[in-house]
Symmetry: C2
Subunit: 184 residues, 2 copies
DNA sequence: GGCTACATGTAACAAGTTACATGATTTT
DNA sequence: AAAATCATGTAACTTGTTACATGTAGCC
């Protein structure tokens, strides 16, 4: 996609939290509290190499016997500057694709039960996400305390997720009711 | 992206609402009430050609003097079957990328005012979207009435948007308050 | 014995955006 | 006179996913 990639900033931002290897970055992004971003290994590893080539990160190779080398990346001052420059820029809204809503929108072409099933699956996913979000919020506070700068912002984005999650669970319930009414 | 494309079903679904040309499909998808999906011309036009080649749509060329031909596509029974087969399949959650939240998450690396500006821009966008959503909901009901099958499902997806929009406006207000407290 | 976690990477491929080309008509 | 809307399309390009390759260590 010709849309300019944000992978660089996602990775720089992660490294700015502290030195990490590619695997750790991926693990972080897979947490429920990072619901708003994702990157694949196919993006992360080449980007890390590129960051070092451009002086935005340094690399320390940790050799471990019998296990593959671990590559720990550390952000440089230039890297931090690049990150901060991006942070000052307004965010561009990314186009959305929600398959569940697309199916529901065309729902007149299938049975009510099919539509109900789509909404129920969403509700299940929301409930699981909510539990994970709650758990990770607690872990975050336990580990760093509430006054930590990073925790403060983590709680803001986590709160966004919780807000949307709550609202959507209600929408699911209301929608399921309307669909069940339709059926009878 | 190796992830299987849903463009085919988005286009088929649109054609199922009635015969349309590529331009009209794009216009429909640009409406605020279609916030949950997007396609570019670069996807739509080649897909329409492919649908005809696969017998999922027929094509009628309307010649107009001095203006370029208009190509009106009509879904076939095979196309309708293909759409219905997809509607019966569970929806896969699409990965999300929200640049604004990524910036806020890394917010400790910039000034509070920058973070406030990000949230304020989101709030503006939400307000505009809300107005459009309200307007389009009214137009939909005025044009087809509340009992129409298509309208029923359109109102469900529109309601999803309104629910999230409401919740997010509240989140913006709360977040702005927290950020302003931080500043002092 | 098999599964999961740890750890790095790449190549092939698919998907999707943007910019361009073309040109009439309608609105501002 | 300029800008937007109507209308079709493609080529170049970027982005991003998936599948694969490789191997250890620890757990059930």
């Amino acid at each position: 996609m010709a849309r300019e990639s944000r992978t660089k900033y996602a990775v720089l931002g992660m490294l700015n939290q502290g030195p990490k290897c590619g695997y750790e970055i991926k693990k972080e992004l897979e947490k429920s509290s990072m619901f708003f971003w994702n990157e694949s290994y196919g993006q992360i590893y080449p980007m890390l190499k590129k960051l070092v080539a451009n002086g935005l990160s340094t690399l320390e190779v940790i050799e471990r016997d019998e296990q593959p080398d671990m590559k720990v990346y550390t952000i440089t001052d230039d890297g931090r500057e690049e990150l901060e420059r991006w942070l000052r820029q307004p965010a561009e809204p990314h186009p959305i694709r929600n398959e569940m809503l697309l199916k529901l929108f065309f729902g007149a072409s299938t049975s009510i039960d099919m539509n109900i099933a789509h909404v129920e699956r969403l509700k299940d996913r929301l409930q699981r996400q909510q539990e994970n979000l709650d758990q990770e919020r607690e872990e975050l506070i336990d580990e760093f305390g509430e006054d930590d700068q990073m925790v403060f912002f983590g709680l803001l984005t986590s709160g966004y997720g919780q807000t949307v999650n709550d609202a959507l669970q209600k929408w699911c319930d209301e929608t399921l009711e309307k669909l069940r009414e339709m059926r009878s």
